[in-house]
Amino acid sequence: MLSSWSQATLALWRYRGFVWHQWWHEFRARYQGTGLGMFWHVLQPLTMLLVYALVFSEIMASRMKIGDQTIAYTPYLCAGLLAWNYWSEGITRVTQMYVESAPMLKKIRFPRLLLPVLVLGQSILQFVMFGLLLLAYLAIVGAWPGWALLWLPVLWLSLTLWIVGLGSVLSVLHVFSRDVGQLLGSAMQWWFWLTPVVYPITVLPPIVRDLMALNPLFHVLQAFHAVLLGHRAPDPVHLLWPAVLGMLLLLYGAWLTRRQMRDMLDAL
């Protein structure tokens, strides 16, 4: 097991040039043919942020109470969306990674462990873009999180582990039945409203809140809110729950992929 992990790292290093090229390619291809080109990578999230900021600061009730703190709704929503969008984009891409790369898998040999890294590139970029804009917004409205920001990479890692963990299992199933991808699409709609992204957790009855503790995304959002809005270290539970669950799923997913790779290549 250990040797295969170190082999994976080595392969990643050997193919780093290829990974960069593919990322760059996808980055350029996304808005290819548009007049503004790469500016859209900034304009899209900026538009989203501005819409929320304007709508909620002017039209809707813009402040709310979380615990003993009163905070503005716009940063609350945006901090939630930062995590949610990364997760929903990421899990969709990782689930489809084998099917999406079928021509490559069938034609040439390359380390298949590169695939999650390849497909997550775009989601990571969007996460960083939106994150930077959100931080700029926080700085402008005088709510700069300060040193707590150093937790952000840790939160990202925890969330990524969860994405790759769940994705490693779903991606195998998706090869054998494309229903899995469709099912995931519907599940995400439900999942979004079962996670406190747009509403504060305080509006829920206690029993629902307890049940929600099973949802890894609930913990992820709590951690993001703590860092970006509360300006403090996240609760270790919020950090560990998605990471540990993700790690366990990843171990199972890696085993499953190993066992099923032969049939997967035949089925693609």
Partner: protein, 408 residues
């Protein structure tokens, strides 16, 4: 040691139908396909190749050659047994994979090269050589979409072979640009071989294989039936091919595609068609330019006929008839024919055609015009490949056998 290839009791089976109920549970427990539910396409194949050895892989269509290649390359995994290639394996099967039309030729060298596992600095060091070999000095910074397909193939070959691989797998369908460039590619492959690369050449072409390979693996129905010298291997192959043609009078892939390739009223039908060497009578799928061949036809007459015209034609890949004639043109009247009579005829000719793939069509009619009283018309009764080896290279679709003479 780098370059050695080992296959031990190698087998590959594909699932014949989709697994039904309970498959999710099996899947999640890591249990693979049901063994009862598979069709073997390759089985009990064992061989060992020493580094630097050149080996031809032959077999009639459907013998398992492509499956073996996929297993060697690693794009498919064996159902039983093991296969192992030591060192870097390059397969010239999917040339141009990883290319992106919007990027320049230079960018694509890095894109495709890195996908093949070359490091960036290795490509950087050899950039000049890659561009020069592909003869693209003037257009390397233009986007790939403006390249001709020949230019793209040249670049692809050049990138794939920028570094000497330990094991090189070449498919016969390797057609890269014009004849001169093709020659250049084979020179490079020979140079690799001399430097110690293990070479696996998949081909139907006896000449290509005997020129390069000292050993041949012959596959038939998924089994390795012969492993040894090229000459006896090809004798056995020819025997198997004759059997195969008997079993498959009409090419299988055409039947499967469901196209209406055979039409007519059926008073007379071509029962069997085969192509063989005019001198030795050996069946052929691959013909050398200029080779004397016979197209043998066995015709069953099912109704009494006053007159029968037997025609044949050769079509190129685009479906253009490059040559066609019939018994009327050749002033060889046939008929009247009895019901139940079996005619055995042969067209003898020299294959004075350019290199490429051709389809043979046959027509049985009452007159020289096949639309009138058409007994049977078969648009694709046989397929053949024309290859060229040796001196007198040429381009184009006709072999005019030009000579160059010095004039006073």
């Amino acid at each position: 040691m780098n370059g050695s290839v080992l296959a031990h009791d190698l087998g590959k089976a594909y699932a014949t139908n989709r697994p039904g109920a309970g498959r999710w549970w099996r899947l999640l427990r890591g249990i693979s396909q049901d063994p009862a539910d598979r069709r073997w396409v390759l089985r009990h194949v064992s061989f060992a190749l020493r580094p630097g050895e050149s080996v031809g892989v032959i077999g009639v269509n459907g013998a398992g050659k492509s499956t073996l290649l996929k297993l060697l390359v690693g794009t498919s995994l064996p159902s039983e047994g093991q296969v192992h290639c030591q060192g870097r394996v390059v397969a010239l099967l999917e040339l141009g994979f990883g290319f992106h039309p919007q990027f320049s030729g230079r960018d694509n060298i890095f894109l495709a090269g890195q996908l093949l596992g070359h490091a960036r600095h290795e490509l950087q060091e050899r950039l000049q050589a890659i561009v020069e070999f592909a003869e693209l000095q003037d257009s390397i910074d233009e986007p790939l979409r403006v390249y001709s397909s020949g230019m793209q193939m040249r670049l692809a070959f050049s990138v794939a072979t920028a570094l000497r691989p330990d094991v090189l797998i070449v498919d016969e369908a390797l057609s890269v640009g014009d004849v001169a460039f093709q020659q250049k590619c084979f020179d490079r492959i020979r140079a690799f071989k001399q430097a110690g690369t293990t070479l696996l050449l998949v081909s139907h072409d006896k000449n290509a294989i005997t020129q390069v390979c000292e050993r041949v693996l012959l596959l038939n129905h998924g089994q390795l039936v012969f492993d040894g010298d090229p000459v006896p291997a090809f004798d056995l192959y020819n025997a198997l091919l004759a059997q195969h043609q008997k079993d498959h009078a009409v090419p299988q892939d055409h039947l499967q595609s469901g196209q209406a390739l055979v039409s007519g009223t059926g008073e007379a039908v071509v029962r069997r068609a085969s192509l063989c060497d005019a001198a030795t009578g050996t069946p052929l799928q691959v013909v050398n330019v200029g080779q004397a061949v016979r197209l043998e036809l066995e015709i069953d007459v099912r109704q009494p006929l006053d007159r029968l015209v037997v025609g044949m034609g050769l079509k190129d890949r685009m479906g253009q008839v490059v040559y066609g004639t019939n018994s009327f043109y050749l002033q060889h009247p046939i008929g009247p024919c009895r019901q139940g009579q079996r005619l055995r005829l042969a067209f003898e000719f020299q294959m004075q055609l350019g290199v490429g793939e051709y389809t043979v069509q046959t027509a049985l009619t009452a007159s020289e015009h096949h639309l009138e009283r058409n007994y049977e018309w078969n648009a694709a009764i046989l397929k053949l490949t024309v290859v060229h080896s040796g001196p007198g290279l040429f381009e184009g679709m006709a072999h005019l056998d030009a000579r160059l003479v010095q004039m006073e």
